[in-house]
Amino acid sequence: MKLDINKIRHDFPILEQSINGKKLVYFDNAATTQKPSVVIEALKNYYEGYNANIHRGIHHLAEKATAAFEATRKTVKSFLNANSIEEIIFTYGTTDSINLVAGTYGRKFINAGDEIIISTLEHHSNIVPWQMLCEEKGCILKIIPINDEGEIILEEYEKLLSPKTKFVSVVHVSNALGTINPIKTIIDKAHAVGAKVLIDGAQASSHLDIDVQALDVDFYALSAHKLFGPTGMGVLYGKKELLEAMPPYRGGGEMIKEVTFEKTTYADLPYKFEAGTPNIADVVAFKFALDYIQNIGKTNIAAYENELLAYATEKLESIEGLTVIGKAKEKVSVISFVLEGIHPQDIGIILDQQGIAVRTGHHCTQPLMQRLGIPGTARASFSVYNTFEEIDALVAGILKVKKLLS
């Protein structure tokens, strides 16, 4: 299906503005996506119409809020093709989801001498929680190397796997380079040695179809704000039998069955992991973001984004002195680049003057930048509301950077 991009753009009020007198070109979608009116309206409607605390009150507003909150859980379940709603835990985001798994599954089941495998491509939020666990428990962190294209080297991964491997935590799509990892193979090979697998889906969930049952993945983490949804809300998918075996993460209200001063019994899934009043409004609004994606169709979105990526790659590579960083065969619409003799920060400042928003720096992947031997990159990441004309504006913007800075 051919998408009407102009119509889609009109769904995102923020895009209709100028920065420094120039039309905003928003190419920082890997950091966070913009929000369609339906999501903004949903937040407003919630606070104006049925704000209440959930799962507790018996009054009309509480019931309406609870129903909306739980409706999101159902939508997320089908978005990920999970087996049951008990497997969908609401968190504050990918970072929180990973910390939850490291702090509960990790603390209970991973011991001194056990090994955890991550990759060179990881975001800090899929490095630090495991380092913290290893410091506490004396387990060992192993790193899958990458090739110069920015792809995981599967043979090296296989060499790291052993009966000592208890956990593998790998990013589905690299936020810095756009690489799509072969996660089905990674998961199967981990399972073959009895290890459990978490996939960091912060980037992948907006570009790729996710089927947690087909993947047979144990845990999958994502952030709503990268999926046209609100900030401060995310999801942890976990297989039911694992979530049941895990101790709770935080203690408090909502996550209990019964409390006495002698002993507390915990609530059933998923509430066991949702202590305290959750981020109700943002959870409620997230359903509208997912419905929005579903209406356009993920396949349509991916096809269009791939066209943008191909166009941008060709145009950018034709600029003298520009090197694209990350040339994986399988990529999403993220393009990282460096300019010879020009610091990425200078690129970002001059593009910003022209109304073009890109991300510069290490993208929270410092070990990856060390592996690539660069201080950072400039990164343009595209979403379905971006256009070919905007890529032309980026190219013109980069030429201006070169003119001013060389």
């Binding site: 420094n20 200078d346 400042i349 003057q353 510069t360 001013l404």
Partner: protein, 141 residues
């Protein structure tokens, strides 16, 4: 010249670029290119200003009652901004530096042009300069 006279001088120069961002940044880039590189021996970890996206170094020494600052950066625009801060704050007494109110950054429209993260970098640089001034002031007493 006093710190405020130096600031006013910069503000005057930037008035030329009122609506001309390219001219303004060309000027800053030029200041970056003109700043003599910091000697390698001073590019130490202790001299790195935290909170900047590019590495920024600041070195200080105390001579005849005046604080002399030198600085450098990997990024040329930041280096231009560093040059401006050095022009304004270097070669003054610790007391003058501690009492300085740096209004020129806002006046020349750079706080709005530089995102929070970057101006935070500038802010950390100013803070570090004042910390040196404070240390040298206590030496004098």
């Amino acid at each position: 010249m006093t710190i405020n006279e130096l600031q006013d001088e910069i503000i005057e120069e930037f008035e030329l670029f009122e609506d001309d961002w390219e001219g303004k940044y060309e000027y800053i880039i030029d200041l970056g290119k003109k700043l003599a590189p910091l000697a390698e021996e001073f590019k130490t970890d202790e001299n790195i200003i935290k909170g900047c996206q590019s590495v920024v170094w600041l070195n200080a020494r105390f001579e005849n009652g005046l604080v002399i600052f030198e600085g450098d950066s990997q990024a040329i625009i930041v280096k231009g901004l560093v040059n401006m801060l050095l022009k304004v704050l270097s070669n003054h007494s610790p007391t003058e530096i501690l009492n300085a109110d740096l209004y020129f950054i806002e006046k020349i429209g750079l706080t709005s042009h530089l995102a929070q993260t970057r101006s935070n970098g500038l802010a950390s640089m100013v803070k570090q300069m004042k910390t040196y001034a404070l240390a040298y002031q206590s030496l004098e007493k």
